[in-house]
Symmetry: C2
Subunit: 325 residues, 2 copies
C-alpha cells in the first residue's frame, strides 16, 4: 500500500483491518501477491468514481464506499466470475480524513463481509479537487469459462435480472427532475445509491449464458454492446421489461417516463442471452437464489437494438448512448 | 473497459490500440481475463496520481503518462516481479479529450514498448476537478519468490541503485525553491518527470535481496519502512550515498541541501538489503545491465534509521516522513 506522509497512520488504523486476504501481505509492501488457484483465470475490472459525477456530495460515505465496490463486483458477475479481492486508490481533501474516512471504511468492511472480498492493496493521496475513488476488483473463473459479450446467437433469449429503471428514476426524483411520492422516492433512490451486484447469478451466467453484461449505461445501450460485439440484432419487448411497483406507479402516472426507464443507467442488473431451451432452467436456478429473471426479448440476425411495443412497433429512444450503435 | 457516452469513440480510437495482451479481450468486455503462468504468482500494485499533487499542470501529457505507469512498474521491480500488464482509470476535464489525450496515449504506447506491458482494461470518465489517473500494474514472480520489506537481517548490506536526490532537487529548482544553473536543472527535472523503473534489477533483487523497496517517499523514509517491517536498525553512511554530478555540484555549493537529498522522494531507485557476501555478485550483475549499485550502509540490531556522517555522527533530519518510525 502506498501513501505519503500523514497517510500512514490512516492506513494503519482504517485500511489494514480491511486486509483479510493473504495476498494483501497486510498492506505492508509495495504490492500484493496473489496465488492463482490451479485451473482458474483471474478476472480484473477497474472503475473510477468521481464526486459530483458518479455520486453526489450529499451521499453518505458508506453509500459511496458501497457503490465504488459494488459496480466493480457487478462487472465480475457479468463475466461469470467469483469475487476474490480488490485494490483501492482514494484521493481525499483534508476534510474527509477524519470521521468521513472512518465511515467510508466501515461501509467497505460491511460490504467485504457481505460479498466475501478483501482489500489487498492500493493508494491514498491528497487532492484539492473532488474526491475520487478507483477500485480494481479481482475475481476468478474456471479456465476458459469467462462469459463475454460477443457470443449471442440468433434465436437466443434475452434475460434480465431484477427490475429496470429504478436507479434512473430515483436519481431524477432526488434531483427534482420528475415528481413522485416520498415513499417511492426513498425506495428508488436506494436503488441508485446501493446497487446489488448479482454475484449470486455468476454461476448461472457461466453455465448457461452465451453473452452477458451488467447494466451500467442503461438497458438499451448495454443491450447494444452485446448486439454490437456479437454482430446480431437484439429485440426487446418494452412490455416485458420488469419494473418495480414504484417504477410502474410512476410510469402509469406519466407514460413519458418510458424512455428514461429503458435508457437510464446505474441499475447494475445482469442482462444476458441464453439458448431458448435453457430459459426455464435459468429462471429456476435464479429463483433458488431469490433473484427474479425475466425474459424480455430475443436475438435475431441483423444489427443494433430494437425496443418494440405490444404491437411490435419500434419505440424511438433518444439518448446519447445510442449514437454508437 | 468501461466508459460513458462520448467516451466510447475515444476508447476505440486511442485506447484499444494499446491493448496488445490477450487478457485485454480487446477492451470489449466488462473485465480482463488473465491466464496465470503455472508456478507463478500475480503481483499487483495500484497508485493514483492527481494533477497539482503528483505532477504539475504544465507537465506534458507524455510525461504524465510515463510517470503514472512507471511508478507502478517500479513497485513491481521492488518485489522482484516481471511486469505483464496494467489497467488504467482516467478522469479528464473536457479540455483534455482531444490532442491532450492523443499525446497521453502516445506516451503510454512508447512506454508499453519500452517495458513490454499492455493495457488490459480500465475506465475513462469526466471530472470537473483536477485530472486523476490511477494505474493498477500486474506482474508475475515464480511462486514464493516475491521480495518483501520484512526480511532484512543484522549484518546485511544496504544497496541502492542509480543516484539519489535528483528528483527532489529537480522539482525544487523548477519551483524556484533553490538556485542552480540551467543545465543541471534540465537533467534533474527530467529525473523528476521521467523516473526509470529498475525492472532490469528485478532478477537480481529476487535472487539476492533479503528485503527491498523502491524509493518514492525518500531514501531515509523508505529505509525506515524496511527497518520497521524487518524490526532492525538501518545505518546509512551519508558520504556513500551516490549522487549525480549535477546533484554533487549543487551540494558542494550549498551543503544545506543534504537533508533534501536524503529525504526527498520520487527517485524511484531500488533500495535493498543483501547478505554481505553477495554484495560483489549483486554489483557485478547490475553492471551487466548497466545500472550502478552502491553500498551505502548496513543493518544492525535495533530499530529505526540512522544517517551518519564520515565521523559516524548522526545527521539530524527533519521530515514528516520520519514521524512514523
Amino acid at each position: 500500500m502506498a501513501g505519503s506522509d500523514g497517510e500512514f497512520q490512516l492506513i494503519d488504523r482504517l485500511l489494514k483491518p480491511l486486509a483479510r486476504h493473504d495476498a494483501s501481505l497486510g498492506l505492508t509492501d509495495d504490492a500484493a501477491v496473489l496465488t492463482p488457484r490451479p485451473g482458474h483465470q483471474i478476472v480484473l475490472t477497474k472503475d473510477m468514481l468521481v464526486e459530483g459525477v458518479h455520486f453526489r456530495t450529499v451521499d453518505t460515505p458508506a453509500d459511496i464506499a458501497a457503490k465504488a465496490l459494488r459496480v466493480n463486483l457487478s462487472d465480475l458477475a457479468a463475466m461469470g466470475a467469483t469475487p476474490l479481492a480488490y485494490l483501492m486508490a482514494l484521493s481525499l481533501d483534508a476534510d474527509k480524513r477524519g470521521q468521513w474516512l472512518a465511515d467510508f471504511t466501515a461501509g467497505l468492511a460491511d460490504d467485504q463481509n457481505r460479498y466475501n472480498v478483501s482489500l489487498i492493496g492500493g493508494d491514498m493521496t491528497a487532492t484539492p479537487g473532488p474526491m475520487t475513488v478507483s477500485i480494481t476488483a479481482l475475481g476468478e473463473v474456471p479456465e476458459g469459462r469467462a462469459v463475454r459479450r460477443n457470443r449471442a446467437r440468433p434465436g437466443d433469449a434475452v434475460l434480465v435480472s431484477g427490475t429496470i429503471g429504478d436507479a434512473a428514476l430515483g436519481l431524477a426524483l432526488a434531483e427534482g427532475r420528475i415528481a413522485g411520492d416520498g415513499m417511492a422516492a426513498g425506495f428508488l433512490l436506494e436503488r441508485y445509491l446501493r446497487p446489488q451486484p448479482r454475484i449470486a447469478l455468476a454461476d448461472i451466467v457461466r453455465d448457461l449464458a452465451s453473452a452477458a453484461i451488467d447494466i451500467s449505461d442503461g438497458l438499451a445501450a448495454d443491450m447494444g454492446h452485446i448486439a454490437g460485439e456479437s454482430k446480431v440484432k437484439a429485440v426487446i419487448e418494452a412490455e416485458r421489461v420488469p419494473l418495480s411497483p414504484e417504477a410502474r406507479r410512476l410510469l402509469e402516472a406519466e407514460p413519458g417516463l418510458l424512455p428514461l426507464i429503458l435508457t437510464g443507467g446505474d441499475d447494475y442488473e445482469l442482462l444476458f442471452t441464453v439458448p431458448p431451451d435453457t430459459v426455464a432452467t435459468a429462471c429456476e436456478r435464479a429463483a433458488d437464489v431469490h433473484i427474479p429473471l425475466t425474459l424480455i426479448g430475443h436475438i435475431e440476425q441483423g444489427d443494433g437494438v430494437a425496443v418494440v411495443d405490444a404491437g411490435h412497433r419500434d419505440i424511438p429512444l433518444e439518448h446519447p448512448g445510442f449514437r454508437h450503435f
